[in-house]
């Protein structure tokens, strides 16, 4: 009992310091529990969505995929006649034919895309009474004629659409314009899509090309008939060749689809929680080490009057337990807040999530608290042991300042050995010939070198701080010198404080090196291989509709436009081995737009009739030579026998391993409506007309905002922006680790100030001004921060370089160290140090000189 009482007293006596450590625990637990709450809420939301809206049984064409946009731009269909057959099945009620197309783009009168920007699709459907399960028409009426369209309320609001406004729907069957006849409000969660509703015949005509077709047929079960029974009945009525799903199966499929996206988010967030936790551990270890050091005399006294080592040890661990409990309890609460924040963020990018569906399972707080407590207690274990080792003699000694914690030689040796092993592993990774073992080496190298740096940190602190002292601190005269000496006083503490910052910055440096190398490598490859002046892509993965392509081809100043269509096919090699491959069916001008090396044959011959090319990897693996004939069974078409006329060298990233054939060759084996549309178009300008042609292309694409045309320079910039955006998100999350590290710096400084109360008093007495005192503390903080930054950036650049060398196997051939970023981070660290010192310096300045002298 007395142990608990002492611990509680101590805990409460150091509220401020404990609060800082608790924040570290809080942040990591908040991330973990926030992730859990968010995931549970998403699952609950979608379960509810499918449960309320899906029909008992849905019949789809075999081969229909759930939401992938087919490259043909046309959904798979069922004949209308099937409606009656489904209706005949026993227990089937409310049989409805549905038309759903995701291969559409809807634009307003100003040619602005009204579709979602966050990656969710635009969905065009026919209006049936079933729609009333998910929406209600809040103004206007349902679509009744060929010029009526109903749009969902969220989209209408976002784009300022009113009843009577015109919307143009673009699909492969052409453009058509309708007036908004009604606005439909969602009663359930709309996962971010834009929805437009048409009258059934219009939908069939405009989305599927002709009337009398549906993409799904839905049926509800009569009372007393289970969904499964109805599914069996309908299957019996229709025979084979159809895909049948019950509502539950549809829900599962929907969830699975979502799971991929959510998993990425989940692991990313848990990863950052892990980093925050790791940094938090440093903070906790440091806090307890300092508390123990500060209480050395007190603990010595306790030992002298008869406390056992175990009791002392336990009292520290109980304090850690209290800290863990408080921190993680607050963390769980903050986690729920974080989840709500994430949901709001999702809403902002278009995925409407209602906070009413917030789901907190009982496991969430349990996981959060257990994690927080276990980590805290583990982190406090080393300082607790050190406390137990304090001899009773400590009570008798003059407290003064704690003895300089000299970093031991053993520690240095271990640290250097770990660092060397890590470096060796990184070199092995850089030199790896294959990706799999290389990644293992890389992982090992990262972990070992990180550990090594952490262990050797106190030793490095001496070297680095002295070096920094020469460069930075000398400017500040005696105040700078004292700051340097103070930072060197307890290398272990400086090392641990800096190490916390090091981790976050190492990751920042590593990722920025990799990201920058990615851009540089891609740019270099573009320069080397791409001859096209322009590239036309869609932002949503929609194929390029013929009317848009026609508009492009008419643009003045254009020399040629190259189609690039992707065909799925089963390819049989001469020995009869079948593989699923994709063929790039292009115009022959593609050879000019993308320069490819061949290892055998001439690429031009591959564009001859019934000819093709293969990549060198395929050729080696399948023993294919120029002149061999492959059987290519195009999906939805007839099998073709194509002669291999060229073998392209598999190198670089662009079109690596692609098989090429001419579009006319492919077209001969496919029905017209089965020929995929172009994924992208490449274009060349007439000589000297590049600028005009670029503008002309942009103008031609104005009515089709889903596509974007870029010249080479803009394309590179886009690439850079994309990588930059990705990195910014990652940096944002890493900021969390840096926040925790800053708390660590604050903590260390605050404690140093308290420890040095007498010293500060003395210096003030003999004439150190408040400003000088504050500057001294700020400089010490800056030095610690720069020490962490230097280590972190160095380590991170090492990791990044090793990663780039490894990824060179995947085409990341150019190493590009983003010096401006690295330098910015370094300088920013100095400001981080200044910021961390604000409160401790202020408090030191406020200290009463007399109390400071008098204090023990």
């Amino acid at each position: 009992m007395s142990v608990l009482k002492t611990s509680l007293r101590n805990f409460l006596a150091h509220k401020g310091r404990m609060a800082l450590s608790a924040v570290a625990v809080l942040l990591s637990v908040a991330f973990v529990s926030g992730t859990l709450v968010f995931m549970d809420t998403m699952n609950a939301t979608f379960e509810k969505l499918f449960a309320t809206t899906a029909s008992s049984v849905t019949v789809s064409p075999e081969g229909a995929t759930d939401d992938e946009t087919p490259q043909t731009g046309r959904p798979e269909t069922l004949p209308a006649a099937l409606l009656d057959e489904v209706a005949k099945a026993e227990g089937a009620r409310n049989v409805q034919g549905a038309v759903t197309s995701l291969s559409v783009t809807v634009v307003d009168a100003k040619n602005k895309n009204v579709g979602p920007t966050g990656g969710a699709p635009t969905i065009a459907v026919n209006w049936t009474p079933n729609e009333l399960r998910s929406v209600e028409i809040t103004s206007g009426h349902e679509p009744r004629g060929p010029t009526d369209v109903v749009v969902d309320a969220a989209t209408a609001e976002k784009h300022g659409l009113k009843l009577g406004d015109e919307l143009r729907t673009i699909s492969v069957t052409g453009d058509f314009t309708a007036k908004i006849s009604g606005i439909a409000e969602f009663k359930v969660t709309n996962p971010g899509a834009t929805l437009v509703y048409f009258e059934t015949a219009t939908a069939q005509r405009e989305l599927l090309g002709k009337e009398g077709l549906f993409t799904q047929i839905t049926a509800d079960a009569a009372p007393g008939v289970s969904d499964d029974a109805l599914k069996a009945n309908i299957a019996a009525a229709l025979g084979d060749g159809h895909k049948l799903q019950t509502a539950a199966e549809a829900a599962d499929a929907g969830r699975e689809e979502l799971a991929g996206f959510l998993d990425v988010m989940k692991y990313a967030m848990l990863g950052f929680a892990g980093i925050a936790l790791l940094v938090g551990i440093f903070l906790i270890v440091n806090t307890f080490s300092m508390l123990v050091a500060q209480r050395t005399r007190e603990i010595g006294l306790m030992r002298a009057i008869g406390s056992s080592r175990r009791q002392v040890n336990r009292s520290v661990l109980v304090e850690a337990l209290l800290l863990g409990l408080v921190g993680s309890a607050a963390g769980v609460a903050a986690g729920v807040g974080l989840a709500v924040g994430l949901m709001k963020l999702m809403s902002a990018v278009g995925m409407e999530l209602s906070t009413g569906d917030l789901t907190v399972k009982w496991t969430t707080p349990v996981v959060g608290v257990v994690l927080g407590v276990v980590v805290t207690v583990l982190a406090a274990y080393v300082p607790a042991r050190r406390a137990g080792k304090i001899s009773p003699m400590a009570a008798l000694r003059d407290a003064g300042t704690p003895a300089d914690g000299r970093a031991g030689r053993v520690r240095g040796g271990i640290g250097l050995a770990l660092t060397a092993a890590g470096a060796a592993a990184l070199v092995a990774a850089a030199r790896a010939e294959e990706a799999a073992p290389g990644s293992a080496w890389l992982g090992l190298g990262v972990v070992l070198s990180l550990l090594g740096f952490v262990v050797v940190g106190p030793l490095l602190a001496g070297v680095v701080v002295r070096a920094l002292g020469v460069v930075v601190l000398r400017v500040f005269g005696p105040v700078g010198r004292m700051a340097e000496r103070n930072a060197l006083r307890n290398p272990r503490r400086t090392g641990a404080t800096g190490a916390a910052l090091m981790i976050g910055l190492a990751l920042v440096a590593c990722l920025s090196v990799v990201g920058s190398s990615m851009v540089a490598s891609a740019t270099e490859e573009l320069d080397r291989s791409v001859g096209a002046d322009f590239i036309v892509r869609s932002g949503t993965g929609q194929p390029i509709v013929p009317q848009a392509q026609a508009a492009l081809e008419k643009a003045p100043g254009i020399d040629h436009v190259t189609e690039y269509r992707w065909l799925d096919a089963t390819v049989t090699d001469p020995r009869g081995r079948k593989t699923e491959e994709g063929l790039a069916a292009t115009d022959a001008t593609y050879m000019r737009d993308l320069r490819r090396e061949t290892t055998a044959g001439r690429l031009a011959d591959a564009y001859g009739p019934d000819a093709m090319s293969v990549g060198s990897d395929y050729a080696t693996e399948h023993g294919v030579k120029v002149g061999d004939v492959l059987t290519v069974a195009f999906k939805g078409g007839k099998p073709a026998k194509l002669r291999v006329a060229a073998i392209t060298a598999d190198q670089g990233n662009v079109d690596n391993g692609a098989m090429y054939t001419d579009i006319t060759t492919a077209a001969r084996y496919l029905p017209a409506d089965r020929v995929p549309h172009s994924l992208l178009l490449l274009a060349g300008a007439k000589d000297g007309q590049e600028t005009q042609a670029y503008q002309a292309l942009k103008d031609a694409l104005a009515p089709y905002p889903q596509y974007k045309v870029s010249n080479q320079a803009d394309y590179k910039k886009d690439l850079q922006d994309q990588v930059g955006q990705l990195l910014n998100i990652v940096y944002g999350l890493l900021a969390l680790a840096i926040v925790v590290a800053v708390l660590g710096v604050v903590n260390t400084l605050a404690l140093s100030v308290v420890e040095r109360t007498r010293e500060i008093g003395l210096m003030r007495a003999i004439g150190l001004s408040r400003r000088q005192l504050r500057r001294m503390i700020r400089l010490e903080s800056v030095v610690i921060a720069l020490f962490g930054a230097l280590l972190g950036l160095g380590l991170g650049m090492g990791w990044g370089t090793a990663a780039q060398k490894l990824l060179a196997l995947e085409g990341l051939g150019v190493l590009d160290v983003p010096w401006p970023t690295i330098l910015t981070v370094f300088v920013a660290s100095a400001f981080v140090g200044l910021f961390a010192a604000l409160v401790p310096a202020f408090r030191a300045g406020r200290m009463n000189v007399l109390n400071a002298i008098a204090s023990e």
Partner: protein
Amino acid sequence: MTSAVTTPRPGGTGGATAVAARARQVVKAYGSGETRVVALDSVDVDIARGRFTAIMGPSGSGKSTLMHCLAGLDTVTSGQIFLDETEITGLKDKKLTQLRRDRIGFIFQAFNLLPTLSAIENITLPMDIAGRKPDADWLRRVVDTVGLSERLKHRPNELSGGQQQRVAVARALAARPEIIFGDEPTGNLDSRAGAEVLGFLRTSVDELGQTIVMVTHDPVAASYADRVLYLADGRIVDEMERPTAEAVLDRMKDFDARGRTS
């Protein structure tokens, strides 16, 4: 009540007044109402320039408070304190800090030195802080006087207690302050080391013309001074010129006895 005010007269140190510091009707009180404690009760005192003054008195007599107030470390409740002709009561922290830095030297009972700085760095610290260059000749003389030439590169924890206090004395002297305040500077030393330090203080008064004020409760230490002021209950109750250890001890016994009988 005895007043420690002496008649000002032209001093021996080049035209400056003979009084280095003076207190006029200084009151220092803590708390208010029922719990009001008066540490200094209308104290008037003059500290003569170029002399060694000791302040004695029993614990709680206010001797340390008086010194802290004279040195600008503590604020007074009422009254005035002058350092030379500068009134320091009412000065803002910034001015006071500058004053301490440039015009006053300190020697505390313990913890006089910064553990991270070497002996010589500690000695020059006040001048470093001020951004002034120490006068090399003077510094050498001070260092020689306190006998530390061999140990200048050592850190405080490599020096004995006596050596540490000598470094503190050297620091106080090095900046050539108008006045040095010592707060039981030998309180933590054995008699031999204490005698050494006091000897240096005496020497610096005699040879360097330094003004020193020292708080002590040790009659032997007080006997090194030119003049001893006795404080009791926040008032100056007596003073003695050219004290000897025996005389001081006798006087203290007197006070003790009086305190007990009254």
